[in-house]
Point group: C2
Chain length 251, copies 2
């Protein structure tokens, strides 16, 4: 079955309090792409965060001496107020080296700068935080699709992360609703009849990366509809994608 | 523009010496999906490795005492001969802990077990190695498409890797030809006019993950055609995706 990744275009600049679902639906209807049962609605976190008001005015931030010191040591001179915001979103620092801050956020994601975003924020002296509860945001979208179109879809809230060992950024799933983020093939068999022991597929991350192909940072496309990927409806939420610290060799 | 991920179905079990390109073309023609200019042909490494004869008969392997010792300490008892093969493909061990071997391969990829594969190998006592030069394998596919269909495509050879911090496996790009594996947006601007400083997108990895949505391990689909993703033809090869050790905080 062919999987289609449909960009949701024509979405206006989003502001706190905006009805994200309604705006996306208008764009989808306009393009003749009403959601169908089994579709996966993928939305970047920045769109969600903006509508949810997860915006910080840096003029109200007073950096701590610790934030000042780290910022002064970064190449190009990071804004100490941004460092302060990052630290306020941080539960634990995984690496603090070469001007990079790789942290574990309050919700448990391991990522650079606690996901605090300085681009496309809508203004100077402004940064955007990750949504407070991306699983809840995704669930809200699933419920809104059901109310508006009468069909069940899955929803994924994505963010763009760097990765150890590899250059470049890729989109990952933060929040997930309506599907299990993991596809567990253990107990199944390969084509030679050998049991598949280690095969748990991070299907929500793969869907996020696929959607990222059409959600370009410089093009103002904050969402996509993935059609044709078969999944079992399920639960778990994006937190299922976070490896427990005791099983993680790299933090 | 909608991106389509077309599974290449009906591919027979592959054997050393098989003409992989010819077999994929027959399957594509049969399904009415002849490659078009700008398509991206994505093939999993196992298909490539099998055709290239990168198969090891474990009955010919004598494990070293080091391999025996590590194998004995793994949960479930890893086959010491497999450990020996992994070590022979390894340039440097990144982590050797909790029964896991995360290594840097001779070619520079950081992955578990040096990519040595025990599933869908075609027989017992058999493991499959990564292709010797996946960039060359990808270039061969690009050339074969040009010869057969008279159009320029890109090609990506993928493998399925685990990731630090996150559960589950996702497909990544090993070999790349006909396109730059990275999309460099630096120097461009966000919608607010702010310069995009850190935005280099690992587009080949995103394409690999997208193709992975239709290349299921239990379904015998070793390849996909991605259509509708715009890229600049370019070079670089999959090695461009490997972060240099001196810039890597996690090895």
């Amino acid at each position: 079955m062919i999987v289609s990744v449909i960009p949701i275009t024509g979405v206006p600049l989003l502001r706190p309090g905006d009805d994200l679902a309604g705006i996306l639906f208008a764009a989808l209807d306009n393009a003749g792409h009403a959601p169908r049962a089994g579709d996966i609605l993928v939305v970047c976190q920045k769109a969600v965060s903006k509508c949810e008001g997860r915006i910080v005015d840096l003029r109200r931030i007073t950096p701590s001496p610790f934030a000042e010191q780290f910022a002064a040591g970064t190449k190009g001179g990071k804004d100490a107020r941004v460092v302060e915001v990052i630290l306020s979103e941080t539960k634990r620092i995984v690496r603090m080296d070469a001007g990079h801050l790789i942290v574990e956020t309050g919700a448990g994601w391991v990522c650079a700068n606690a996901g605090v975003d300085e681009s496309n924020t809508g203004g100077p002296d402004t940064v955007i935080l990750l949504p407070l509860d991306p699983d809840a945001s995704a669930e809200g979208l699933v419920a809104a699709v059901r109310a508006r179109y009468g069909c069940d879809v899955a929803a994924i809230i994505t963010d763009t992360f760097g990765r150890p060992w590899r250059e470049g950024l890729v989109d990952f799933a933060l929040g997930v609703a309506g599907m299990d983020p993991l596809l567990d093939l253990r107990g199944g068999h390969d084509l030679g009849g050998r049991e598949l022991h280690h095969t748990v597929v991070a299907q929500a991350d793969a869907l996020a990366a696929a959607a990222g192909l059409v959600m370009r940072k410089d093009a103002g496309i904050p969402a996509a509809l993935v059609r044709g990927y078969r999944y079992q409806p399920g639960t778990g939420g994006g937190r299922k994608l976070i490896r427990a610290r005791e099983f993680d060799l790299f933090r």
